[in-house]
């Protein structure tokens, strides 16, 4: 499979087949909390996609150059300090703390920047940014990328990391916008009192997850189909 094909597969897989929300259960808090109106949900989805992309880029850079076992930067420092070049330095224990730190700061930076220079954009999109800092979808994307960087056989490049990140973000957006539409509809429905709000929203999420199970195995299917096409 060529590179473009593998990127598309990573993307589709993250967006539909293994949807972040409906398959991996990450980003549930905003999925339930900010899904009351379609417009807000869409704004949230865009913001998450954007932030995942930024976080993925930064964490890829940090992981690739500093944190992964045998990363070049600490290795270089190590040899400068006179260490044995044969020894691989492994700072991966710092990964989590660095990711969360990087995510938080970059989000805050972007938020301040947008707020200062693009007030209208801030109104429609920037307001979501702080909420995203503590959203597990972002950290989860970083962790997936870390896993794929830790395996020297895979050793993802930045483009693959971004395909995953954007796919995950788009999948999140699809899920939350569908959810918001449904919840706007349920506002008008005669839902039994105890289930109003989160209860029925979770049931809807469950049925959505059932529906998305229809994509099971589609990555394999598309891969086979396209490889036969290329032949």
């Amino acid at each position: 499979m060529d590179t473009i094909g593998s990127l598309i597969l990573i993307f589709i897989s993250a967006a539909l087949i293994n949807n972040f929300v409906l398959h991996y259960f990450v980003g549930i808090c905003p999925f339930l909390g900010v899904s009351r109106r379609i417009d807000t949900a869409f704004g949230m989805g865009c913001a998450v996609t954007f932030v995942i992309a930024i976080a993925a880029t930064l964490s890829w850079i940090f992981t690739y150059f500093i944190l992964r076992p045998g990363a070049p930067l600490p290795g270089w420092v190590w040899t400068q300090l006179g260490g044995d070049p044969a020894v691989t330095i492994n700072l991966s224990v710092l990964s989590y703390i660095v990711y969360i730190f990087v995510i938080a700061s970059s989000v805050q930076f972007v938020e301040m920047y947008v707020r200062r220079f693009f007030p209208p954009l801030y109104k429609s999109f920037g307001v979501f940014l702080p909420l995203i800092t503590t959203n597990c979808a972002i950290l989860f994307a970083c962790l997936l990328i870390m896993q794929n960087l830790a395996d020297p056989k895979a050793l993802w490049g930045l483009h693959q990391a971004l395909a995953l990140a954007v796919g995950g973000g788009v999948g999140f957006t699809i899920a939350i916008v569908l959810m918001a539409g449904i919840r706007e509809e349920l506002d008008l429905a005669d839902v039994p009192r105890p289930l109003r709000g989160a209860g029925v929203a979770l049931v809807v999420a469950g049925i959505l997850a059932m529906a998305f199970m229809g994509f099971t195995g589609m990555d394999k299917g598309i891969e086979t189909a396209f490889s036969s096409l290329l032949k």
Partner: protein
């Protein structure tokens, strides 16, 4: 009420101190536990080898990496017994099942003519259906099968030597397992055997590997 630069430095000292402290603490944890974690990771595969190759010793295992003619990378293990004689092979294989990737190990006799068993390392097949590929009764259907002709999945009692009965209702997963076994067997059979190493070196395993597939095991510091 614009914040100033000095404000920031004055306020941030706690954060910086904590960062240093936490960094040091984590490094300590890392140092203390890495050995164990690596051991765990390795054992995941190594502990299975004696079950796939009867008589083999867990510690007497030699990992080998090679590339088959079709460009695929493979990892195989040469399993030896206490006496240091070569008892069999174990090859790692993986591929798409019904719902996702299936990773498995295939055991072969030393002459690479008979399958001694399979073991599923990772799978995400449907619970209660496809995930029965991990059950012993299904794995046992592979033990003792010849490597030639390739295995075929059938939905009834096997009639030929190379036939394996599918899990009922999970043909796709069964088929996937069989295909991976076939591919792994094909690869290892085409592999030119390196000279049998000197048995004396086993206790110092893991052997120096050209490429370490295990991710975080490089830190010897």
């Amino acid at each position: 009420m614009k914040p100033t630069r000095t404000d920031f430095i004055r306020q941030a000292w706690l954060v910086i101190m904590l960062a240093l402290l936490y960094g040091a603490a984590l490094a300590g944890v890392q140092l203390g536990l890495t050995g164990r974690i690596d051991e765990n990771r390795k054992n995941e595969t190594y502990s299975v080898i004696p079950t796939l190759v009867p008589g083999a010793l867990q510690s007497a295992t030699l990992p080998l990496d090679f590339t088959s003619p079709d460009g695929q990378d493979w990892r195989a293990y040469q399993a030896f017994d206490e006496a240091g004689s070569h008892r069999g092979w174990v090859i790692a294989s993986s591929g798409q099942g019904f719902a996702g990737r299936i990773d498995l190990l295939v055991g072969l006799t030393a002459d690479r003519q008979t399958i001694t068993g399979i073991y599923i390392l990772e799978q995400v097949e449907t619970p209660g259906l496809g995930d029965y590929i991990t059950r012993d009764y299904f794995r046992e259907r592979f033990a003792g099968k010849p490597v030639e002709p390739p295995l075929a999945i059938v939905k009834r009692e096997p009639r030929a030597d190379n036939e394996v009965q599918a899990l009922s209702g999970a043909t796709v997963s069964s088929e996937s397992v069989a295909q991976q076994v076939n591919r792994a067997v094909l690869a290892i059979r085409g592999y030119e055997v390196p000279p049998t190493p000197d048995p004396g070196q086993f206790p110092t395993l893991p052997a120096p590997a050209p490429v370490q597939s295990d991710s975080r095991s490089g830190d010897d510091v």
